[in-house]
Symmetry: C2
Subunit: 315 residues, 2 copies
Amino acid sequence: MIGGKKLIGTFNDLLNYASELKGRRIALAFANNRETLLAVIHAKKRFSAEFILTGDNDFILNELKELGENLSSIEIIHCPEPTLATRTAIEYASNNKADVLLKGGIDTSTLMKLVFDEKYNFRKGNLLSDVFIFEYPERAENKLVMITDGGLILNPSLNQKIEIINNAVAVAHALGNLNPKVAILSSSEFVNPKLQSSVDAEIIAGMNRNGEISGCCIDGPLALDSAMIPESAREKKINSPVAGNAEILIAPNIETANALAKSTTYFAHYRLAHVIIGAKVPILITSRADKSDAKLLSIALGIIMSETRKRLTKK
Amino acid sequence: MIGGKKLIGTFNDLLNYASELKGRRIALAFANNRETLLAVIHAKKRFSAEFILTGDNDFILNELKELGENLSSIEIIHCPEPTLATRTAIEYASNNKADVLLKGGIDTSTLMKLVFDEKYNFRKGNLLSDVFIFEYPERAENKLVMITDGGLILNPSLNQKIEIINNAVAVAHALGNLNPKVAILSSSEFVNPKLQSSVDAEIIAGMNRNGEISGCCIDGPLALDSAMIPESAREKKINSPVAGNAEILIAPNIETANALAKSTTYFAHYRLAHVIIGAKVPILITSRADKSDAKLLSIALGIIMSETRKRLTKK
């Protein structure tokens, strides 16, 4: 339960909940890009969010006009140079003048370099990680399953894995899942001293049992099938609340998370949303390959995650 | 073309080709297991292979009788003790008295320990790797795509990755694909000195351009979408015959291959077959979780790979 809300267990729940939240401000880093402006227009129809667009004023106005869009709830800050536009958007997010940072027509590496620029204190010393969510149609209760981190942390150390877990657990909590089932993935269920991912998994699961990692229920090492498929967990005789029912999949490395997430999208055709968390506000790195559904869902996720910060700030 | 055969581009082609091959002998390591005996019965209906079953004679006879099976093309070697039965099956395979080694009611780690036992000279000093094949329905021409290695090599070095590639390429050649498109997977298309998988991919692609790795066409680093999805390859402006059309996916590590392969099975519900190659004969480690279709396809793959050895031996 979040503020009287029930579990957000599907992407439709996610859209509905995000559309109930009022007064969220989304800063768009370099809006000189028709595709991103289309996403803004779609999001405006669905949510009550306000958009702060940085970029070339004339270009943006012209594009919006061509797309038949009025300018209600849209503020344009004229900075035609991409890097300056991005810096401006980050400053807004860092200074509490925006609740979500959305990437526009700038490449991800440039945006992230600026996000990590210490002068904005936007990172607050935290680890930033990408949380990918897919909707798993074959599950009854909570269909939203997370995969992390497939975008930012190249060779996660044990400590970084724990921060990756905490970031994902924060997303689960924001979605009303207060004790998410976390699977630490490896290639099998056995601890092999020669396979670091299996050793780390064992340590992390132990730290969870000892209460050193809390707010979730962790099991590992688990292979994908024993984490996600109840029959596999049963056949392998793994007795844990997580096995077969995992809601967060912690990948052993960036390549596994990236390939697994892309496999759910391109092979299984599951719907998806993703968000980078750990910074002062959620960051949305929608890519050109993302369909409009994925962009809308990611914006909804960003709005909801910003709500979490609101509530935390009020405390 | 193999011996006048065209490309084996689907699993039905695979079944048909395997059923044309005569006189293959399959040694079953410890047949005291109803599930494996069922697979044998299915395979006997489809292929003309002969089976050499090691295990408890009375148990096996009784099970086969209960399953309504006659004993044509079945030889039973009485060794009721599982390890001894497995050793006997390996000896048959090692001494050219069997063309395929099939795991029965013994666990994989026990079998593999014996496979690696130098006294059988079964490994011949080669690297053994698991080649997983899925049938990708969204592709027109060759629908069979390989993922490797998700089962045996924990932390593949550059040299081991090259051996993994050569093993997979040998399977492609046996399936009539004489110049397979090989993608070296990483989490993106960029070489990052801090991410070994991307560095290795660049080196391997270079070695292929220089002719040091031959019999295939290699590109990398590629993320899964740029390897498999033509639209992604086009959007990312990657110009190579491999991008968007990969037929062999070389994973950066065992966890990525394992999760990706399981995702094609359990999320996308693609058909699958897999075989361990590198030893004197192909080894089939069908697991309890494999459906009967996967078992039959894997046996077909084993029969075809043994045919390759036959042809090589004749030279």
